[in-house]
C-alpha cells in the first residue's frame, strides 16, 4: 500500500431500491473504510432518498439496508454531503432524512452531525477537491 492518504469520495445518485447500485455502493464504502483514506460520501439526485427516514421494504421482498447508514460514523466516515437542490426538487428537507452522527474522540466523544447540507455549487467545489471519485 502507498503511504499517502488520498481524498476519496463516494457519490450516490440512485434511489435505494429499484436497482442494486445503492446497496452495492454502500458495500464499497464500508470496505473502503478499512483503507484509512480521507473519506467523504455524497448524496445527490435520487440518491438523497437513500437517507430517507422510515424506509419499509416489507412489500418488495428486499432487505432494508437503510439502518446501515447510521453506522457510518462508527467507521470514521464523518463527512456526508447532501445536495440541497436535490432535496428541494423532491419536496424533501433535512427532517425527512436520518439524523446521522459521529463521535469525536478528540472532544470527549462529543456527538456531532455527519450530514453537511451543501448547494449544488458548493458540492461542485467539494468534488473538485477530491483525488478519487467513486460514482454510483
Amino acid at each position: 500500500m502507498a503511504e499517502e492518504t488520498k481524498k476519496f469520495m463516494y457519490i450516490n445518485r440512485k434511489a435505494p431500491y429499484g436497482t442494486i447500485y445503492a446497496w452495492e455502493a454502500l458495500e464499497v464504502v464500508l470496505i473502503g473504510a478499512a483503507f484509512e483514506q480521507d473519506v467523504s460520501v455524497a448524496f445527490m439526485d435520487d440518491g438523497v432518498y437513500q437517507l430517507a427516514k422510515g424506509q419499509d421494504t416489507s412489500g418488495i421482498g428486499m432487505k432494508n439496508f437503510s439502518p446501515t447508514y447510521a453506522a457510518l460514523g462508527d467507521f470514521e466516515i464523518t463527512k456526508i454531503y447532501v445536495e440541497k437542490e436535490s432535496l428541494e426538487e423532491r419536496g424533501l428537507t433535512l427532517d425527512d432524512l436520518q439524523h446521522l452522527v459521529w463521535e469525536d474522540e478528540d472532544e470527549d466523544w462529543a456527538e456531532k452531525d455527519s450530514i453537511r447540507l451543501v448547494s449544488r455549487a458548493e458540492l461542485g467545489d467539494v468534488l473538485a477537491g477530491q483525488d478519487v471519485l467513486f460514482n454510483f
Binding site: 476519496f8 447500485y21 458495500e27 470496505i31 471519485l133 467513486f134
Partner: protein, 130 residues
Amino acid sequence: MKLTIQVNEGPYQHQSADSAYYFAKAALEKGHEIYRIFFYHDGVNNGTRLTTPPQDDRNIVARWSELAEQHDLDMVLCVAAAQRRGIVDDGEAERNGKDATNIAPGFRISGLGQLIEGGVQSDRLVVFGD
C-alpha cells in the same frame, strides 16, 4: 499515467462495457499503464466465458480476455457481485459447493479491497457506468 478502470455495467445490455474496452485499448496504445480493471455490479458479467453472441456481433468477453493476454492485465471481478450473479471460478465453486465454473480467461475473482487499492495506487480511477 497509471490507471484503474471500473466497469459497472453488463456486456450487450449497456455500452459501458464497450466504452471501457475501447478506453483501455486506447490508453495502452498511448503508452499508459493499466494497474487494474475492476468489474462491479452487472459488470461482472463481462467475465463469463459462456457468453455466446451471434456470429456477426462482437464477442465482448473474448475481447477482454485477448486484451488481458496481450498486455498482462489484472482484471478482477468483485467476489460479492460475482456470487450474486453466478460468476464462478474454481475456488468459488469449491467454497460454495457449485457444480461448474464459468470464469473467462484473464479474469480473477477477488474482494472490493482491490478496487479501493486501485484508487489508492493509480493516478486516475476511471468509472464506466450509469
